[in-house]
């Protein structure tokens, strides 16, 4: 494809911020040191790593030694849930995990792993608006619960979850539980330090906010014991062994700091772009509908359906025009999985299958919106036309 891409898939991954690229390059090109060593080269790496940790701690509202760098958001979720669950069982004899029906697979798969190890695992429901059902959550909580995991922002529909209310319920009904939150989608849009202030464990992922892929972090509050998933040389307080990706940590921290500094300004601009896209599509395409429209949502997500079409076909036609969008969440084979999120919200199979996710981000431009508004209504009309044969 020669034309520039119209990239409307920031919830899948964002372009790296130029400042993050610039910050990481010296640690790829110039600095050979292992941060665990003691000579000058090692000290340079260690200094950069700890400065990055301080930045992450400042933005996420935690103490420096509560930041554990990981190889991405999924690893952070796995560490929080499996590590937290196993430690809670070992130390306190707890044996239950509570999560929600619309979590990311990184959370659900980790919980199901614990289920195979003998934990009771249950999932609280969500409302049609895409927000956790607090009454249902309350019914799942008891004194045997080791880990509760509730996402900060849903990856598919972009709804922001009431984590403070969740935390209050958990403290009351499951007082010994570790409360984990997957905030992988939250960072560009909400102040995670505030949203997750009452949580014990917070997962983030660099590439969702202009940082590198394969780099994440888990906030582990002091006093919260975790059994490590990866063991070795005792790095990251023994919670996550292995030489830390210094360049990745530096880039993640840089992207996180810039995202935090520019959040209100960028969010306001992106919300205007997103609203123009939404209004243009609703006006330009008959039988279009917006999903999860009733809830508090991020500025970047637009989950929209077009009755009578199949999202997989629409995505092909959009891709042919250089418009990158998504439906459901992608599994490793690239197939569109039937969205468990939309099913959890009670959407019909037909409506879910007719819906796509357009997700804007810091790099989105007015021209992207113009292009999407020029391409999408036409593509939907082509799919709705009677087939030639």
């Amino acid at each position: 494809m020669s034309a520039p891409l119209t990239y409307l898939d920031h919830a899948a991954s964002t372009p790296m911020r130029p400042e993050a690229v610039a910050a990481m390059l010296p640690f790829l090109a110039d600095h050979p040191g292992n941060p665990s060593g003691s000579h000058a080269a090692a000290r340079a790496a260690k200094t950069a790593l700890e400065a990055a940790r301080e930045t992450v701690a400042a933005v996420l509202g935690c103490v420096v030694d509560e930041v554990v760098f990981t190889g991405g958001g999924t690893e952070a979720d796995n560490l929080a849930i499996k590590g937290g669950g196993r430690a809670a069982r070992r130390v306190d004899g707890l044996d239950a995990v509570v999560t929600t029906t619309f979590e990311h697979k990184g959370v659900l798969a980790a919980a199901h792993r614990l289920e195979r190890e003998g934990f009771r695992v249950s999932e609280a429901g969500v409302t049609v608006a895409g927000v956790i059902d607090l009454d249902d959550l309350a019914a799942h909580l008891d004194e045997r619960v080791a880990v509760v995991s509730v996402m900060g922002v849903n990856n598919e529909v972009g709804t922001i979850q009431p984590l403070r209310a969740v935390a209050a319920l958990v403290r009351e009904r499951a007082p010994r539980a570790r409360l984990h939150t997957d905030c992988v989608q939250a960072v560009p849009w909400v102040d995670v330090a505030d949203l997750a202030a009452d949580c014990d464990l917070i997962a983030i992922s660099g590439h969702k906010f202009g940082g590198p892929k394969g780099m994440g972090a888990l906030v582990v509050r002091r006093g919260v014991a975790l059994d490590p998933e990866i063991e070795g040389g005792g790095q990251e307080r023994g919670i996550r062994a292995g030489t830390v990706n210094v360049a990745g940590a530096v880039a993640l921290a840089t992207a996180l700091r810039i995202t935090h500094e520019r959040r209100s300004e960028e969010s306001a601009r992106i919300a205007r772009q997103r609203d123009r896209l939404r209004d243009g599509l609703l006006a330009g395409v008959p039988d279009a509908f917006v999903n999860a429209s009733g809830a508090d949502r991020t500025a970047g997500h637009l989950h929209i359906g077009f009755r009578g079409i199949e999202s997989e076909s629409l995505l092909v036609l959009l891709d042919e025009q250089g418009v990158c969008a998504a439906a459901g969440s992608s599994c490793s084979s690239g197939a569109t999985e039937i969205s468990h999120v939309l099913a959890a919200m009670g959407m019909t199979r037909a409506d879910a299958g007719a819906s796509i996710r357009l997700s804007l981000g810091y790099a989105s431009t007015d021209a992207d919106v113009d292009r999407a508004l020029a391409v999408i209504p036409d593509a939907v009309a082509r799919l709705r036309a009677p087939a030639a044969a």
Binding site: E310, E312, S313, L315, V316, L317, D319, E320, S332, S333, G334, A335, T336, E337, I338, R382, L383, A387, A388, A389
Partner: protein, 341 residues
């Protein structure tokens, strides 16, 4: 033409895509995710999708994955399980061709304004003088797959391209190697894609509890027992678990009474086989037409006469297991197909 190539991740469909691209067509690759359950072989594993995607990238054509797992369950797996429970021997790969590749995928290709769907099957589409798309056997007799496509009808064939049907398998592999495609030396998948290492019996038993029953001879004398009719196919000789001193074959499977009847090879001989779900590749075949008919993927065709809803053999043939596809030919050209009752 705007062509959608169904890429399984195997060498044949890889080369099909390459040939079409090099012939100047606007080619898009697609891999269907069909089986959502556990699998260790077959056309929908992640590694096969990766191979297809990598080949598409090497050819510089777009590639997508379509998830038809739910339809595959409804239209292929469930009927497969039900057929075995009813004592039949289904051909799920042929049904997949009919309702998935030339059903769901072809419909979607039309919706997206593709002019044709292509696959890597070893068979040929020949345009007749009147414009009819005829289906012929592939050039490589050892790899010919006309039998598994015999259920296709004119509206489907008219939108079909089978570019490797003119080639031998060795040519296909050599072409893939010349292009540096990673699938050039890949082994062929031979098994039903959703049957796992546990085998067909375990797959079926997990879905329909088997009913034990009796094994009788043709006089009604009980020779033994069995733990479920799904282990038996008409014509089968091995694994009967009855000692009779002479060579015995399954001659009948009656699911309602869970009875398996065994007999001698001559007890299998039939003059005709009645068909249901009959379809034709072109105009319907007139009763009385002399044809040949093929009853399994690599079986030899036998001379027959078409009787409207049955094939009448010129010389008696072994009974065809109910559920099996019978393909109708005029020499190398496919006329149609039906399912043995």
């Amino acid at each position: 033409m705007r062509v959608l190539v169904a890429m399984s991740g195997g060498v044949d469909s890889s080369v099909a895509a390459a040939l079409l691209r090099d012939a100047g067509h606007d080619v898009t690759g697609v891999t269907m995710k069909l089986w959502g359950g556990e699998s260790d072989s077959g056309c929908c594993s992640v590694s096969d999708v990766e191979d297809a995607r990598r080949v598409a990238a090497q050819l510089d054509i777009p590639h997508y994955v379509f998830n038809f797992a739910s339809e595959f369950d409804d239209q292929i797996v469930d009927p497969y399980v039900a057929a075995y429970a009813a004592g039949e021997t289904p051909n799920p790969c042929i049904e997949c061709n009919r309702s998935m590749k030339w059903g769901r995928l072809l419909d979607r290709a039309r919706t997206m304004a593709f002019d044709a769907v292509a696959t890597g099957h070893h068979a040929r589409i020949v345009r007749a003088a009147d414009g009819t798309a005829e289906l012929w056997r592939g050039t490589d007799p050892a790899k010919d797959q006309a039998y598994v496509l015999a259920v296709l009808e004119q509206a489907q064939l008219a939108m079909t391209m089978l570019p490797v049907g003119e080639m031998t398998k060795a040519d296909v592999r050599a072409h893939a190697a010349r292009l540096g495609l990673r699938t050039a030396t890949k082994a062929e998948s031979m098994d039903v894609c959703f049957i796992t290492r546990g085998g067909r019996r375990a797959f079926l038993d997990a879905r329909v509890p088997p009913v034990a029953g009796r094994v009788l001879d043709t006089d009604g004398v009980e020779l033994g027992t069995h733990d479920g009719v799904r282990a038996f196919t008409v014509g089968q000789r091995r694994g009967l678990a009855v000692a009779t001193g002479e060579r015995r074959y399954v001659v009948d499977v009656d699911a309602p009474s869970a009875t398996v009847t065994v007999g001698r090879v001559e007890d299998l001989a039939r003059d005709r086989v009645a068909l249901r779900t009959v379809s034709f590749t072109g105009a319907p075949l007139a009763a009385g037409t002399e044809i040949t008919a093929q009853v399994r993927a690599h079986g030899a065709p036998a001379a027959a006469v078409w009787r409207g809803d049955a094939v009448e053999w010129v010389t008696p043939q072994p009974r065809v297991a109910p559920g099996q596809t019978v393909a109708l030919f005029a020499a190398g050209r496919v006329l149609g197909a039906g399912i043995a009752t």
